[in-house]
């Protein structure tokens, strides 16, 4: 089958899909969870509980009040200990609800039966409401509130929903395992999204290094109207939204615009599953699959983890002795993930995986002069000039950064990855981009 891909830029880091064969395991019940109130893009949820309140699995403990926000639900049953500032992947302490776990009682409204529910009884509007009530956000990492994505502004419409099952980041295998183990539910979830958006076409994009998932999903999708599976060339960042849309539909999202402006909506495959559970089982988002891996570890695996559980629970389940070898812990994949301060950080809706790096791999190389080789330009999927953006950002020349397209940068890291002089290109480009956004915000206020 001729493989689709995006035409410009990209790199090919080693795939390291060490945990691809490990079936998803459910972790033991934790003794305490710390559920962050800001687990999504937009304003953090406002706490609805206080010290001493008793909660069950699925109880709404935080309310998303502004337009771009999401609700947060308890992932355990027990007693609220406090609302405290807890360290998260941002490197700073953020408000979280701390709950001491007792038992495993679920909210009665949640359907816990394992039977597949195919029939979609709700209409588009009700579906979006249900998604909102369940606190579903994009599980690919950006955590954009999903219900907002399906509230189309006046005059805009879509003709395609794309399910992003690419998982182009090295090491991560959670989406892969989800497809192998929960394919039917994912397909129903895709159909629900079709109904919510009014489209009659869904494309599930899967990178070619997951042939078993491609085969399985393609086979099952044959009996569903409107869903097709498209294998994609293994190229990073194939799973980046704009690149994926270009590869599958040959449409380019214009600078500063959204996928909806070219008539499509993109959702991660894990989000599709969460949508199924929210709409068909009335189950809020309280758990997700997380890959725990590292080249120097004896074992790695994929786990279904309740939100708020510390990442160390997975290491304990794998009976790993995280020794002095580990120098860096990453939440996410190694290309775009965030280095975190330790294994005590709790799992949030955006934690797709935890990758451990040993000392040799964790340290950056010595920075040398730019040799103007142009590899960063060739690698940039957005057609930017990273060397120029780095130089301008270093000198704090932010207007020129804006003109050179800093705001278009998707922060994929291909430029830093490929630079022979080991220059921290993306560090400076981010600095420039952040200041360009700040400048734009100041301009808007005037």
């Amino acid at each position: 089958m001729r493989m689709k891909t995006f035409p410009q830029g990209g790199v090919h880091p080693p795939e390291n899909k060490i945990s691809a064969e490990a079936p998803i395991q459910v972790l033991d019940r934790p003794s305490r969870v710390q559920i962050h109130l800001g687990q999504h893009l937009g304003a953090p949820a406002v706490p609805l509980v206080q010290k001493g309140d008793r909660v069950r699995v699925g109880t709404r403990i935080g309310e998303g009040k502004s337009f771009i926000s999401a609700h947060v639900h308890s992932s355990v049953s027990g007693t609220v200990v406090k609302i405290d500032d807890v360290l998260d992947a941002s490197g700073y302490r953020r408000p979280a609800v701390v709950i001491d776990v007792e038992g495993d009682e679920w909210e009665e409204s949640i359907d816990r039966s394992p039977e597949l529910v195919r029939e979609i009884k709700l209409d588009a509007h009700a579906i979006v409401e249900r998604i909102k009530d369940a606190g579903v956000v994009g599980l690919g990492g950006a955590c954009f509130p999903t219900h907002v994505k399906y509230m189309f502004p006046e005059g805009k419409q879509a003709d395609t929903v794309i399910i992003n099952a690419v998982e182009c980041e090295p090491y991560l295998t959670s989406d892969h395992r989800l497809m192998l183990e929960r394919a039917d539910e994912i397909l129903v979830g895709a159909q629900i999204l079709m109904k919510a958006s009014g489209v009659n076409r869904v494309i599930i994009g899967i990178e070619a290094n997951k042939p078993d998932a491609i085969e399985l999903m393609a086979r099952k999708a044959r009996s569903v109207n409107g869903i097709e599976v498209a294998p994609l060339k293994v190229q990073y960042p194939q799973g980046a939204e704009k690149q994926l849309i270009k590869a599958l539909l040959n449409r380019e999202v214009p600078s500063g615009k959204l996928p909806l402006d070219v008539g499509c909506v993109v959702n991660n495959v894990g989000t599709a599953l969460a949508v199924y559970e929210a709409v068909q089982k009335n189950k809020p988002l309280v758990e997700r699959v997380v890959t725990f891996t590292g080249r120097h570890l004896e074992r790695s695996g994929n786990f279904m983890v309740r939100l708020g559980v510390p990442v160390s629970a997975m290491a304990a389940r794998l009976e790993l002795n995280i020794s002095e070898d580990t120098a860096k812990v990453i939440s996410g994949g190694p290309m775009m993930g965030k280095a975190i301060a330790g294994l005590e950080i709790p799992v949030t809706k955006g934690t797709s995986g935890i990758v451990l790096l040993e000392a040799g791999a964790a340290q950056r190389l010595t920075v040398q002069n730019c040799i103007r080789c142009g590899r960063c330009v060739t690698a940039c999927p957005m057609g930017l000039e990273p060397w120029r953006l780095e130089k301008l950002a270093q000198l704090d020349r932010f207007e020129e950064c804006e003109a050179a397209g800093a705001a278009d940068c998707i922060e994929c890291g291909s430029c830093s990855y490929t630079c022979p002089s080991a220059r921290p290109l993306l560090d400076y480009i981010r600095h420039g981009k952040a200041n360009v956004m700040r400048m734009r915000a100041e301009r808007r206020q005037k």
Partner: protein
């Protein structure tokens, strides 16, 4: 964990490209040309190459350590490449002290004075060679004949003019073999007079292919440069074959092959995008052809590249890569 964890921004992985790998890869690509130069020019070739590399790396070390007071990068491979290429661009009998002057100018002035690796606008080896040509015109245009007495000491080298030199002096008449297969074989294999590294076109081509395979360079600059040179000289050859030499001769003779594959492709002094590189190569090939046909010098390769080096920042500005999402495209 008993040690402190490392916190840094993404990406946390690094590809395995490095400056050192690229530079020493170029040195390896120059090996066939080096071997052929030693074969044709004997001790002198070895002398010039070793001295060139030592002088260049030495200049870099001394200037960086004592004048710039910073850690020296003399071993990162770039000064070695400059030394090797400078050596390839001079005749075998060049006096050592002239080579020293050239090396100091190439590394000290054309590279370090601008800020070191990556900051020089002009190709350092070519600047060194141009300086030597202007300062020592006689020695820089006295070429020992290849293969004659090249391994004996104390015997003066027998000199002969290069094919391009003969063409420039006496026109097509001075090259009675022009057009014959034997002559092309001589040009290809390097059995002609010239600077030690430029004569063996085949050896250079092999090195060029190696660099393509290692992805150190792309095909755009060398192929387009030689094609433009061939086109420029070819136009006039077609109009008057009795007066002008054919384009295949021009591509194989003189420093065109060495220039196209190793000098013009220097990443620091060439454009960053494929489009820019093609423009750069077209300009270089045309200028080289014009200098050869109508200029006072018999060889125009070095100057054509130096001239186009000056335009590189402009080319990079005028031909940026295609920005995603800036034009409307619909599938």
């Amino acid at each position: 964990m008993s040690r402190n964890l490392v916190i840094s921004l993404s990406p946390h992985e690094k590809g395995d490209e490095s400056v050192q790998k690229i530079m020493w890869g170029v040195v390896i690509a120059l090996a066939p040309a080096l071997l052929s130069s030693i074969y044709y020019f004997g001790w002198n070739a070895l002398r010039v190459v070793v001295l060139g590399m030592v002088f260049c790396m030495g200049t870099e070390y001394l200037v960086q350590t004592f004048m710039m007071k910073q850690k020296s990068t003399a071993l990162d491979g770039s000064a070695a490449v400059t030394g090797l290429l400078l050596a390839f661009n001079v005749p075998a009998a060049i006096p050592w002290w002239q080579l020293l002057v050239g090396s100091v100018v190439a590394v000290g002035i054309a590279k370090l004075a601008f800020g070191g690796l990556g900051k020089n606008p002009f190709n350092p080896a070519l600047v060194g060679r141009a300086f030597m040509l202007a300062s020592f015109p006689v020695h820089m245009t006295t070429w020992p004949k290849p293969l004659e007495n090249v391994w004996s000491f104390g015997v003066d080298a027998v000199t002969a003019a290069t094919p391009l030199g003969k063409l420039s002096e006496g026109g097509v008449a001075a090259l009675p073999n022009l057009g014959s297969l034997d002559f092309y074989k001589d040009l290809l294999l390097g059995r002609v007079g010239g600077c030690i590294g430029e004569t063996a076109a085949l050896a250079i081509l092999l090195g060029g292919i190696y660099m393509l395979y290692r992805k150190i360079i792309t095909w755009h600059i060398p192929v387009v440069y030689l094609a433009s040179l061939a086109a420029t000289t070819g136009v006039f050859w077609l109009l008057d074959p009795g007066k002008y030499a054919d384009p295949l001769f021009h591509v194989l003779a003189g420093g065109a092959m060495l220039g196209a594959w190793f000098m013009a492709t220097d990443m620091v002094t060439s454009p960053m995008t494929a489009r820019g590189q093609i423009i750069f190569a077209v300009g270089g090939g045309v200028i080289c052809g014009l200098i050869r046909l109508f200029g006072a010098y018999p060889e125009g390769c070095s100057y054509s590249i130096l001239i186009m080096n000056a335009f590189v920042p402009l080319i990079d500005r005028a031909f940026p890569p295609r920005r995603f999402g800036r034009e409307v495209t619909h599938g």
